[in-house]
Symmetry: C2
């Protein structure tokens, strides 16, 4: 492996283990498994998922749907409120593949009724407490109204939610509390809309929970790679995190116990988490060798990022002394989706370069 | 202009005005003007800068130096501590163009002495208080030691600093305090190293200050576009901000006075600022028409971002009622460098698509 600049390492074995863990879980609970592909955005990782006999996927944009339609996926849900300005692209897609769209308003339902040229499945977005998008779970009148507007090519499929507030959980119990609350709310809706598929989505709940009563479909995405955010929530261990950004050391500052990495906000993204132990962090280093990624290394904490620079606090003087300018240090990202989106390519430990959509 | 998805608008007139403002200022103060190109990363914007007869530039990576060398720039400073792993690429560049490198350690000086095959100018990075990189301004002994290691093809050019701590200023007075402190520290160094060019860099200081006594070169970058961070510091007015991300409205939530935009962290970046008036913000809307960008619109505040979604708080019910699903709303970014880096292309108001390096 010749690495000279920030490079996103992908541990294929870990990734495939994560895929099979979630596929097995879905199977055990008799759930439709429709993983979200916005995390990896890569046709190659898509084939690893196909190898686990998963043929449905979720994406977050029309362009991403086009990319995966061009790469062998023909059953795709765009889990983002329909952007009516992209109706031409949506029409082209709905002619080629089995397309599911997500709506949450009468306006969009009416627009699609008039403008959608082929059939599409329709999910209604439900808000169970994240308060980003969706119709409130208790507003059954409005849900009914939107469903009543659907016509013959707009096939009502179900009710879809994303409990994104689980991402701010501090531990597994908090995740389960969010998940159980989501189950209660969605199950109550299932009574009002018995024909509806119930689709839920977040990686923390899908990783941790073992009760999916009343749920028909899961759409986690981040689980293919996991990251430090999930590690601190308790969704995964450090041995599950499948990507790390490897960065050259360009400077050392002993007076501050700091090492400067070539690796900044344009590589990691500016995503951070607040931790009890280390305050605000932008990454933590991990071991790696020629074969794959190793354990987390809490002696090396990424405490700040500018455009191309990363500041790594070294908690141990012996470790500091061993680091040399020109060394490579691998760092687990806070949010692998954002890091992968920026890096746009992965390097596996068998020296393959994997590209993402552009 | 047909826009259907998040698109980075570039107001060419504003950009050219910003370029000529800074070029004039440099001329007035008899400063070498070596703008930082990491903000725009675009050969086209580079030609607008060339039109102002600016032929030197600064970049933040070897790859960016290669890109601008391929696009007509032959006097480039890579203002990032030399990454010794890229020595092959650095050697290739130093043969083609007038290249300046930045170092801050004996180790890197010795490495270059042994491995650099052609001539390069060398700047020593000085830390005047930002504490990211550089040798502390008062450590003249170590500065001397590093300079003493330079050989015939490593031509000592000067002392370079970046007062990045000016970015956390709350107003123009705080910027001037940082700037004046930098001047004092760099001027004291000029006495110890009279042959050294003194190079400073940050956009807030270069925009606001009118005293550059003892400075030989300025390297601001952000000023070509400015952004909300600079607006809140006082480096620019809203009529100077030259880019805005235009985003389709995909949902409305009257119960929270919120509009959901197609425009998230993969478009804006997750950069935010804390403001007294609005708390944590990720953007503020602005007016625009077919001709260009307009004034800031403080009725529309971007309060949160996920991967593709932006939540826009609408402060005025009348404004809320007028917004329709499918409308386009332009939003000034917090940090235009990061937004441009993610979007990788601009759309000008005469309908040109401008690409950046990939």
């Amino acid at each position: 492996m010749k690495i000279v600049r920030p490079t996103l390492l992908l541990d294929r074995e870990r990734c495939i283990k994560n895929i099979s863990f979630m596929a097995e879980k879905a199977k055990k609970h008799k759930l439709i498994f429709r993983p979200h592909f916005k995390t990896h955005q890569s046709s190659e990782v898509g084939t690893w998922i196909k190898d686990a006999r998963i043929t449905k996927c979720t994406v977050s944009s029309v362009q991403m749907a086009e990319y995966f339609a061009n790469n062998g996926y023909n059953d795709i849900t765009i889990a983002f409120p329909v952007n009516i300005l992209e109706i031409d692209e949506i029409n082209a897609l709905s002619k080629r593949i089995k397309l599911n769209l997500v709506i949450e308003s009468e306006e969009t339902a009416l627009f699609l009724k008039e403008n959608l040229e082929s059939e599409a499945g329709i999910f209604i977005k439900i808000d169970t407490g994240y308060h980003r998008t969706g119709i409130s779970y208790d507003n059954t009148d409005y849900i009914k109204k939107v469903i009543s507007l659907l016509s013959s090519n707009l096939n009502f499929r179900g009710l879809l939610t994303h409990s994104g507030h689980s991402y701010s959980s501090k531990n597994r119990d908090e995740v389960l509390a969010v998940h159980n609350d989501t189950l209660t709310k969605m199950t109550s809706l299932k009574k009002a809309f018995p024909e509806a598929l119930i689709s839920i989505g977040d990686t923390p709940s899908c990783s941790i929970a073992d009760n999916f009563e009343g749920v028909d479909e899961i759409r986690p995405g981040n689980f293919v790679f996991y990251d430090l955010m999930q590690y601190f929530i308790g969704s995964c261990t450090d041995s599950d995190i499948a990507t790390a950004l490897v960065c050259p050391v360009v400077a050392k500052h002993i007076e501050r116990d700091e090492v400067v990495l070539y690796g900044g906000g344009v590589h990691f993204s500016k995503e951070f988490i607040e931790t009890d132990e280390y305050g605000r962090i932008f990454g933590i280093a991990c071991d790696f060798n020629d074969k794959g990624l190793g354990k987390i290394n809490k002696d090396l904490i990424l405490t700040s990022l500018s455009q191309e620079h990363g500041k790594l606090k070294v908690k141990n003087r012996e470790v500091f002394d061993k680091i040399k300018i020109g060394d490579l240090i691998a760092v687990f990202p806070i949010h692998s989706c954002m890091t992968a989106n920026l890096m746009k390519s992965y390097m596996t430990f068998d020296n393959n370069h994997i590209e993402t959509m552009r």
